[in-house]
């Protein structure tokens, strides 16, 4: 077997699996921080209990997110050493700064938060969950600055065989980063918010702790509705940017083989034939693609075949067309899911404002299923982003096939791939099991607030033990 294929499969499985947990961490950290703020401000115990209830899920999720993240960082050197040598100078700093600025912050303050309940002054304790939330956001920013370099390389010069950074500001202001980061942040917060809303709906149908879950639902649906709205807006913005910067990716996402007429119609559905490089059947809405791409009812988009010819002229012979079917459907799944989410959130916001919530059974029964939608959308989004860049690992600079580690054998990679996917499967089952277990319990007992442990009192006992 070709090491390249295994290395790519491993990257895909690690990234997709890791990214089930990342948005939940970002979203729940924020949602929980909001809940705890309400506790500290309003001083009502229901908010404290709520914060604790959701923190159980948050911490399970966070643990899996951390451990899969270590591999995410190390696999560049393990499977993609040629890539690492080539771009380490420009790509590495983002990861290093992410560690210094975000990982230390998150890991320290999540512990302060978990172990600091009732031991720290309330406001200090509240600050620690906000620092965790800020840490997750900073982390997203830096890792996306690295990804944006792969999509749209800026701020570097070639020094022999290697890319060297020469403009850090360009990397920070990479337009790809600023089209991607807001979208990722909004979708992540929405993912966490819909998780809370869906579970709250499930609990409300069963009349568990109605007061607490009504409020949970309300908080999360407000967060969900506003982020879902911004998610569509930022996604649209990003797609428009991609039409300019990565026309091949967008042409593939639209299955647009030949340069479109002007104005360009939007293809809702197509039967794609990648052999013949054409669509056998397509259902189109006139004007719409022009409007989506340029905010006006005119303008054409370049087709895959034309772009292929241009790229061959620029980069030499080769296939520069990414997997069209995958991109076409990934894009439709992502946007479809996003639209459904907005509807679900707007309706939920409306009924919870009217206080009709517990009676509204059909909607409430649907909401637990809605939890799955952001995960599907997130995965589709990353598949489109990463596969749409193929055959490049760094757009226009290095092909994926040239990036793999030359010293690692196919057997070693296969061993690693099988080991990690097995452990991912186990972790996935355990996470779902532990989530379900926590959610199904009809009564959530926050452990009784224990006797106040004053961390500043002098140590008792042990220090006086005779040593030796």
């Amino acid at each position: 077997m070709d090491p390249l294929i295994i290395a790519r499969l491993q990257f895909a499985s690690t990234t997709i699996f890791h990214y089930f947990f990342v948005p939940v961490s970002i979203g729940l950290a924020f949602t929980i921080a909001v809940m705890q703020t309400m506790y500290v401000v309003k001083k009502k115990d229901v908010y404290r209990k709520m914060t604790k209830f959701w923190s159980v899920l948050f911490l399970i999720n966070f643990a899996v997110g951390i451990v899969t993240g270590i591999l995410q960082e190390f696999q560049f050197g393990m499977n993609w050493s040629t890539y690492s040598r080539f771009v380490g100078d420009v790509f590495g700093p983002s990861l290093a700064i992410e560690g210094l600025l975000a990982f230390f912050l998150e890991s320290t303050f999540i512990a302060v938060w978990v172990f600091g309940w009732d031991r720290l002054p309330k406001k200090v304790h509240l600050a620690s969950i906000w620092l965790v939330s800020i840490g997750t956001t900073i982390s997203a920013f830096w890792i996306l600055s690295a990804n944006s370099f792969m999509q749209n390389p800026v701020g570097f010069e070639m020094a022999g065989e290697r890319a060297q950074m020469n403009d850090f500001v360009a990397i920070l202001t990479n337009p790809h980063l600023w089209s991607q980061f807001p979208h990722v942040l909004m979708t992540s917060i929405a993912t966490g918010a819909f998780l809370v809303a869906g579970i709250s709906a499930w609990k409300l149908i069963r009349k568990h702790d109605v007061e607490m879950f009504k409020r949970s639902f309300r908080i999360s649906i407000i967060i969900g509705a506003s982020t879902a709205f911004m998610m569509l807006f930022t996604g649209h913005w990003q797609a428009q940017y991609l039409v300019e910067s990565q026309p091949m990716k967008m042409a593939a996402a639209e299955a647009l083989w030949e340069t479109s007429e002007d104005p360009a119609p939007f293809t809702v559905f197509a039967n794609i034939n990648t052999e013949e490089k054409m669509n056998e059947y397509e259902l189109q809405i006139p004007y719409l693609l022009s409007f989506l791409s340029y905010n006006k009812f005119s303008g054409s988009l370049e087709g895959l075949n034309q772009l292929q010819a241009e790229y061959e002229a620029e980069y030499g012979p080769g296939n520069y067309i990414p997997p069209v079917k995958t991109l076409f459907w990934a894009f439709r799944i992502m946007t479809g899911v996003g639209s459904l989410l907005l509807l679900a959130a707007l309706y939920g916001g409306y009924v919870s404002r009217k206080n009709k919530l517990p009676k509204n059974n059909l909607y409430m029964k649907a909401m637990p299923w809605v939890i799955a939608l952001p995960f599907i959308g997130n995965t589709a989004g990353w598949i489109m982003t990463e596969m749409g860049r193929q055959p490049w690992v760094v757009f226009g600079m290095m092909k994926t096939e040239d990036a793999v580690s030359p010293s690692v054998t196919a057997g070693e990679m296969l061993f690693s791939f099988i080991s990690f996917t097995t452990i991912y499967a186990i972790l996935a089952i355990l996470t779902i099991y532990l989530f379900a277990r926590h959610i199904k319990k009809p009564v959530f007992l926050e452990e009784t607030p224990h006797k106040t442990n004053d961390p500043f009192e002098t140590e008792a006992g042990g220090a006086d033990h005779v040593t030796g």
């Binding site: 911490l59 050493s81 532990l434």
Partner: protein
């Protein structure tokens, strides 16, 4: 001092931080299941490192990121070269990391026992693998003219490397036991001390054997002159002082001394490697050095600003978290994990 040299020092510091900090939480993870007589006691042991293990592990992640940024060739050669050991280390860190969170989520003995094993294995394996890696850093590895490590993974497992693995395991074990002694009281405390007394001679013999063998099979202890032998010897003396039943330095003093011992050992290896970062056993000319493995001046300068600006904060709040959770744990305390 050039920027590349500065970055070598920083990465050395990150590795020292990782070995010192995660070292003791590995040590605690190794013994919690055996020293704790019932579930409650096991939990107390695990909770001694509860608020710390995660941030300790970030030292490794940041070291990896810093190598990637400052010495891409070092990162690429090392991570692709030590492929199989790293797979095992990552698997160990994965099961270990989730074991903290998962263990107390379910009452059944079977469940908890499973996660106790995950923690135990996850704490035993990484020290052994890092010991193997350090020993290979010292003896050199078959790195060819393309900066690629060749020859598969069995070659890493030479006798000196295995000695390194076992040595680091015991070093972290006694380090962890000292940590338990400053975080617990009563029985739990006594048991850690008793075990420490028992394994201390083994740790000392292994440490001594490692530095003596290292002196003969590798040039790192004397690369910059014979006087540098003082570093590993002082590391041994610190360990001896920390573990000897006759010393009267107290619990914290012992922990400080095992810490010093780890610092000196790690520093002596990294200093002796310098200016090489990966020694080639094929030809000196193929060795990776801080000069031929480094990023460009622009990146190094940028990263220097970031690290100088951020590290004081990181050290500050991490130290603060150790301060607020310094109180000794008792069996009747509320436990999170």
């Amino acid at each position: 001092m050039s920027l590349a040299e500065f970055w070598f020092i920083l990465i050395t510091i990150l590795f020292i931080g990782f070995f010192v900090l995660e070292g003791f939480d590995f040590g605690v993870g190794m013994v919690s299941r055996f020293l704790g007589k019932d579930d409650r006691e096991k939990r107390v042991y695990i909770n001694t490192i509860g608020p710390f293990w995660d941030a300790n592990e970030v030292w490794l992640i940041t070291a990896g990121g810093a190598m990637f940024a400052a010495f891409p060739h070092w990162y690429a050669t090392m991570f692709s070269g030590f492929y199989i050991p790293l797979v095992f280390m990552l698997l160990a860190l994965i099961i270990r990391g989730v074991s903290f969170e998962f263990r107390s989520k379910e009452e059944s003995y079977k469940w908890r026992n499973t996660w106790d094993w995950a923690l135990t294995i996850g704490s035993f394996l990484p020290p052994i693998l890092w010991g193997v890696v350090l020993a290979n850093f010292m003896t050199g590895m078959p790195i060819n003219e393309n900066k690629e490590m060749v020859g598969g993974f069995l070659q890493f497992l030479h006798p000196f490397a295995l000695l390194g693995g076992v040595m680091l395991l015991f070093l972290f074990l006694v380090h962890g036991l000292q940590f338990i002694s400053i975080r617990t009281t009563g029985d739990l405390n006594d048991r850690a001390k008793a075990l420490s007394k028992k394994v201390a001679p083994i740790a000392l013999v292994l440490f001594l054997a490692f530095i003596i063998t290292g002196y003969f099979v590798s040039d790192v202890f004397t690369y910059h002159g014979q006087t540098f032998v003082v570093l590993p010897i002082m590391g041994f003396v610190a360990l001896l002082w920390g573990l000897s039943s006759k010393s009267s330095v107290g619990e914290r003093g012992r922990f400080a001394l095992t810490t010093v011992s780890i610092i000196l050992l790690t520093a002596s290896i990294f200093i002796g490697m310098f200016p090489r970062v990966m020694i080639s056993s094929i030809s000196d000319a193929y060795s990776l050095t801080v000069y031929n493995a480094a990023s460009g001046a622009y990146t190094l300068k940028l990263m220097s600003y970031f690290s100088i600006a951020l590290l004081p904060f990181v050290l500050g709040y991490q130290a603060w978290s150790y301060y607020i959770f310094r109180k000794r744990l008792k069996k009747e305390d509320e436990l999170e994990y």
